[in-house]
Amino acid sequence: MKVDLRSNMDFLAGLMFIGVGAAAMIVSRDYPMGSALRMGPGYFPMVLGGIMIAFGIYVMIHGLVNKEQVKGNWSLRALFVLPLATVVFGVLMEETGFIPALVVLIFISAAAGDQFKWIEVLVMAIALTAACVGLFIYALGLPYPLLKGM
């Protein structure tokens, strides 16, 4: 009778609530609590943290009872690639300007799916970048350099 907790949906959800709640309470200890009359900055987060832990425990026990498993598939590829794409976009916006950032973003994003075709993505990248430059830079007047330092 070994329950696989790693894929027990509610157990994990409860763990998340408890974790966040506990972390918030630990961090809030550095903020003055004050009294109910004059609440310090630590009061509200401390209470919220306690509430989260309480719900977390409830949800966790619920999970231990109903043993429901996490459903569906995980695309680790998408889970890794898409956040990576956003980070790279951020870096390139600062370093190289709007056009390179956007083109790279589109390429990396497209690679998150499993039907990556070079020609298709290239055409899409060009068209979409052109559209975005037109819309955001010219029509809406956002002040970003198209190309930096080249």
């Binding site: 509200f44 619920h62 976009f89």
Partner: protein, 499 residues
């Protein structure tokens, strides 16, 4: 008649060229995302929020509202033609709408959905115009304790009435409140939960959370599931106009659907899906021959479609008059107001009458536009369905990233959104609902502020929430909602409805 003066004033605002144009863009985009599965009004509004910063507040809100109710229209189109609900609210429409399409009656089904939505929209515009001002007037007299109790009731109701597990929803409200108070504390000037990042002392950006959790993690989730090719109902849609008999059969369901939708609309948390499902059940019960349902009964399209549109519009009542968002989309609209420098609450109506009445009038105009826009353009919408998802999601990514970056011109926000995308995906997988986070996030600072003020007034006595009659009323309502929704029978029924 003050009501008519106000409405006339509203139309004079909404009929300016600029506002008409934004209403049109909103409705168009709304229909577009309503048609396209895999992207909903929530993600769209989140992505487009930053674009509205350069636009006057009235035009911005008109456009965002247009996206919202336009999406309800668009969702029905795909439900009828492809048996694929573009939005969750259109799930019920699939039952009879698709059957009608298979019988060659796609035209009347689409037309009656549009007409029903239009009638519902018209009635709800009047409802908002009638009940908005008195409600705001009452709310203006609220003190801090009343406000705190009201927010508590709104959040609790929104959490427990929405789909999903009650304990998880409530936990997520707390999570949202917590995220909302990140940043500098107004009273003490202390930076909370900033972990040494100077960017976090201004708080977490609203757009960052919304786009990360609702746009990007949706994509991760969609890419995780193998998508089979969609089969589009390609038979040409002919004979758009319903017969006189269709109209007669639909009028009752449309009016009842509007009533049901308006009722659920003002309740926090209940999405349009609950309204349309209830309307379907009512029509099935009232029908002389219930066996026709599921086989192409026009009442099964007319009622639910009116109900979900009525619900979508009446959600604006608590949002605009009380400043309490009744759903995640409304939280976004409030967020947009805040970014525009307008503090949400009952004072909006007196301080910014053009905003309130302009929006109300624009809803009616938008509904007329949708009626005109949708029926002739059905061919276009259907062809859009054939666009594969692999073209769609890089576009969503591009708009999302540009949108987030443009708020503060800060790369930090983009990194944070990447983190929220991962967190959002974990939430999706463990089936903790993300919508309550957004509500809590918007209300977090306000709620803390009112709690502080209330306890300051009462000299630290927490019974203040139970000794002031209005506040006590809200508190009792909160407890009643909790008890009722926790009752096993109600819980079971809710699971059936929201699946």
């Amino acid at each position: 008649m003050e009501l008519f003066n106000n409405l006339i004033f509203g139309f004079s605002v909404a009929l300016s060229w600029q506002n008409l144009w934004f209403a049109f863009i909103g409705c168009f985009l709304g229909t577009l995302v309503g048609v396209l599965p895999g992207i909903g009004p929530l993600a769209t509004i989140a992505m487009l929020l930053p674009i509205t910063f350069n636009v006057p507040p009235v035009a911005a809100i008109i456009m965002l509202a247009g996206i919202y109710y336009g999406a309800q229209y668009g969702g029905s189109t795909t439900a009828i033609l492809v048996n694929l609900p573009g939005e969750t609210s259109a799930v019920v429409t699939c039952l009879d709408g698709y059957q009608m399409a298979r019988q060659g009656r796609a035209g009347p089904a689409l037309a009656i959905a549009a007409v029903g939505s239009f009638i519902a929209g018209t009635i709800c515009t009047l409802i908002i115009a009638m009940f908005g001002p008195p409600l705001a007037e009452v709310a203006l007299k609220f003190g801090a304790p009343e406000y705190f109790s009201l927010m508590l009731m709104g959040l609790v109701a929104a959490a427990v009435l929405s789909s999903g597990d009650m304990a998880k929803s409530l936990g997520m409200v707390a999570m949202g409140l917590m995220l909302g108070i990140v940043g500098t504390d107004v009273n003490s000037g202390m930076a909370r939960f900033s972990f040494g990042f100077s960017e976090l002392t201004d708080g977490i950006g609203f757009v960052v959370v919304a786009v990360g959790v609702f746009a990007v993690s949706e994509i991760i989730s969609n890419l995780s599931e193998r998508t089979e090719d969609r089969e589009v109902f390609t038979k040409k849609v002919t004979g758009l106009f319903p017969t006189w008999k269709d109209f007669k059969q639909s009028l009752g369901p449309i009016l009842r659907g509007t009533g049901i939708g308006a009722f659920f609309g003002v309740l926090p948390g209940t999405g349009p899906a609950i309204a349309s499902f209830s309307s379907y059940m009512v029509e099935k019960k009232l029908a002389k021959d219930p066996s026709r349902f599921g086989k192409g009964a026009i009442e099964g399209v007319a009622g639910p479609e009116s109900a979900n549109n009525a619900d979508a519009q009446c959600k604006f009542i608590p949002t605009l008059t009380l400043g309490i968002p009744a759903s995640a989309v409304m939280a976004l609209i409030l967020g947009a107001l805040t970014i525009q420098g307008i503090a949400p609450g009952p004072q909006v109506m007196t301080q910014k009458p053009d905003l309130f009445w302009g929006l109300v009038a624009s809803m009616w105009i938008g509904n007329s536009m949708l009626l005109v826009l949708n029926l002739p353009l059905i061919g276009l919408w259907v062809s859009l369905l054939k666009v594969p998802y692999r073209f769609l999601f890089p576009c969503i990514m591009a708009f999302s990233c540009i949108g987030i970056y443009s708020v503060n011109n800060s790369a930090f926000d983009i990194y944070l959104a990447g983190i929220f995308a991962v967190i959002g995906f974990v939430w999706l997988k463990t089936e903790v609902p993300a919508a309550p986070v957004l509500l809590g996030f918007v209300l977090g600072p306000l709620m803390e502020e009112n709690l502080r003020r209330a306890l300051l007034i009462s000299r630290g006595d927490p019974t203040v929430f139970f000794t002031r009659p209005i506040s006590l009323g809200f508190m009792i309502a909160t407890v009643v909602i909790l008890i009722v929704m926790a009752a096993p029978a109600v819980r079971k029924r809710k699971e059936q409805i929201t699946g």
